[in-house]
């Protein structure tokens, strides 16, 4: 992958530390600036490369906050987050973040295709414009997600499911290795759900690592390798009979 000559971040893109897990968070606490209340309290998470891990919990349990902290979008007040062995922000190009739909101004006059193209910007940096290879991967991914007929449509005129697929397409064209997906299946129709699930399975087969915030308890066992349960900003015990899978929480993170 080519490096941008004028990257957006302060740091140059760092190389992976050999043997490091895709994501290792140790006792991470985080909260809004100026507020004493913590949205995350000493949460730990270890995600081996290639795994597909679910973050499970009710609204306000800290799922989104944890994903944002890993993406460098939320100030961490304590603990440590390492992505491929590097501090947050050193691997912008390898971490793709899919936000919840509400974070975007959908009235903005931009087409679906341009929205998806913004996923390539991390590889371009300042001043460089998307080239032919960027356009190719964008149109291929839009096609994969069944959005081709809508490519020129203004993003506010898409349905909720189409918007969600557009955001996933953007996360995919970044060609990141660690995907942080904040409720990609929230409020989408059955068809979109199937499309997205299929895409995520394909990604895992290609060795990508995924951390997915989800409400959907039924698909945990069939679609995920492990799950971290959160409640009120802390790690919670899985309920009786709940899916466990690969250990990813406090014990796994501190085992080394």
């Amino acid at each position: 992958m080519r490096d941008p000559s004028l990257p957006y971040g302060h740091r140059r893109h760092a190389a992976t530390i050999p043997g490091a897990p895709a994501l290792a968070a140790k006792s991470v606490s985080a909260g809004y600036a100026g507020s004493a209340e913590l949205a995350l309290q000493e949460v730990s998470l270890k995600v081996p490369a290639g795994a597909r891990i679910a973050l499970v919990g009710p609204n306000g349990s800290g799922k989104s906050t944890l994903l944002k902290a890993v993406a460098g979008l939320f100030p961490v007040k304590g603990g440590e987050i390492r992505v491929y062995g590097n501090p947050v922000g050193a691997c912008h190009h390898r971490v793709a973040y899919l936000p919840q739909r509400g974070e975007i101004d959908w009235r903005f006059p931009i087409s679906l295709q341009r929205l998806v193209t913004t996923g390539r910007y991390v590889h371009l940096g300042w001043l460089k414009r998307p080239g032919r290879s960027d356009r190719e991967i964008v149109s291929r991914t839009i096609d994969d997600l069944g959005l081709s007929p809508l490519a020129e449509r203004q993003i506010g005129q898409l349905s909720g499911g189409q918007q969600q697929r557009a955001l996933l397409a953007r996360a995919l064209v970044q060609e990141g290795d660690l995907l942080l997906l904040d409720e990609p299946l929230n409020a989408v129709d059955a068809g979109t759900r199937e499309t997205i699930s299929g895409v995520l399975s394909g990604l895992q087969q290609r060795g990508k690592t995924m951390v997915v915030a989800t409400h959907d308890l039924e698909s945990l066992a069939s679609e995920f390798d492990g799950a971290l349960y959160l409640r009120e900003g802390r790690e919670a015990e899985p309920g009786p009979g709940a899916f466990v899978g690969l250990p990813v929480g406090r014990e796994a993170a501190w085992a080394g």
Partner: protein, 276 residues
């Protein structure tokens, strides 16, 4: 036809027309971002806050535009600083800064012997523009348009999805400050055309009209620029033939274009409703 070309034989009309079109187009293109990022209030505020810079430079015998640029940039940074980390809501910070600076400008004016000297700052005098000003206005216009062209993708992204920008290490603040500085420069260039009080109309009205009739950003910029250019010419002609204030005539021409765009939008909506 003879009547329409009659004003063009005067040099002051030629210079004025060129200046009005240049300033209008710059404001209109930048204004698209002002409208889409809901920065209308800060645009208006910046226009008012450069008044003390202009007046102080005038009283001290310094370069007027230099004074205005300094005051504009100081305000842009000051508002950002006051509202950082949510100490104050941004619109409150803008309200406090802008009224204070405008009052300072008026206070400084009152220390001068005559208020008359300043009326062209408040209300503009596009027909008083000399070729030397025109060079400066062209340079500022070029600078703003080149910046918008070079940083189009960053401006676009931070406007509709600052979170994604931040996730790739592109701080929306950097872009925002850059935009505020550009806004100051544009406002300074536009002061001579329509004055401190009406400059925000050139920033907002053409872009708002364009946003009503298209869903594409480049087209919005083109339509906004066309409206501003047309309004500059129409306003100056009205000023020439009916002997009215040029700045106000230009702004009212923009307002008329907005009204037409609004009407078109309402009719389109009505038609698509009956059709669907």
């Amino acid at each position: 036809m003879g009547r329409l070309t009659e004003p063009l034989q005067f040099t002051f009309m030629q210079t004025g027309l060129l200046a009005a079109v240049l300033v209008g187009v710059t404001c209109a293109v930048l204004g698209v971002y002002v409208v889409l990022r809901s920065m209308a209030f800060i645009g208006d505020a910046l226009a008012h806050t450069i008044l003390p810079g202009l007046v102080a430079a005038y009283l001290l015998g310094l370069n007027l535009l230099g004074g205005a640029v300094v005051a504009g940039i100081a305000t842009a940074l000051g508002i950002g600083w006051l509202s950082r980390r949510g100490t104050l809501r941004e619109d409150t910070a803008i309200g406090v800064t802008f009224t204070g600076m405008f009052a300072l400008g008026i206070l400084l004016m009152s220390t001068a012997n005559s208020f008359r000297d300043f009326s062209h700052m408040l209300f503009g005098n596009v027909l008083g523009i000399v070729p030397r000003d025109l060079v400066l206005i062209s340079a500022l216009a070029l600078l703003v348009l080149v910046f918008l062209f070079l940083f189009h993708k960053e401006l676009e992204l931070t406007s509709f999805d600052p979170v994604h920008a931040k996730a790739m290490g592109l701080g929306a603040d950097k872009v925002r400050y850059g935009l505020l500085v550009l806004l100051s420069l544009t406002v300074v260039a536009g002061i001579q055309a329509v004055g401190v009080v009406l400059i925000s109309a050139l920033l907002i009205t053409p872009a708002a009209a364009a946003s009503l009739v298209t869903n594409s950003l480049p087209r919005m910029m083109a339509i906004s620029a066309a409206i501003a250019a047309f309004s500059g010419v129409a306003g100056l002609y009205a000023s020439y033939f009916f002997d009215v204030a040029s700045g106000a005539a230009i702004v009212l021409a923009c307002t008329a274009c907005f009204s037409v765009a609004y009407l078109v939008r309402v009719l389109q909506r009505g038609m698509s409703k009956t059709a669907g």
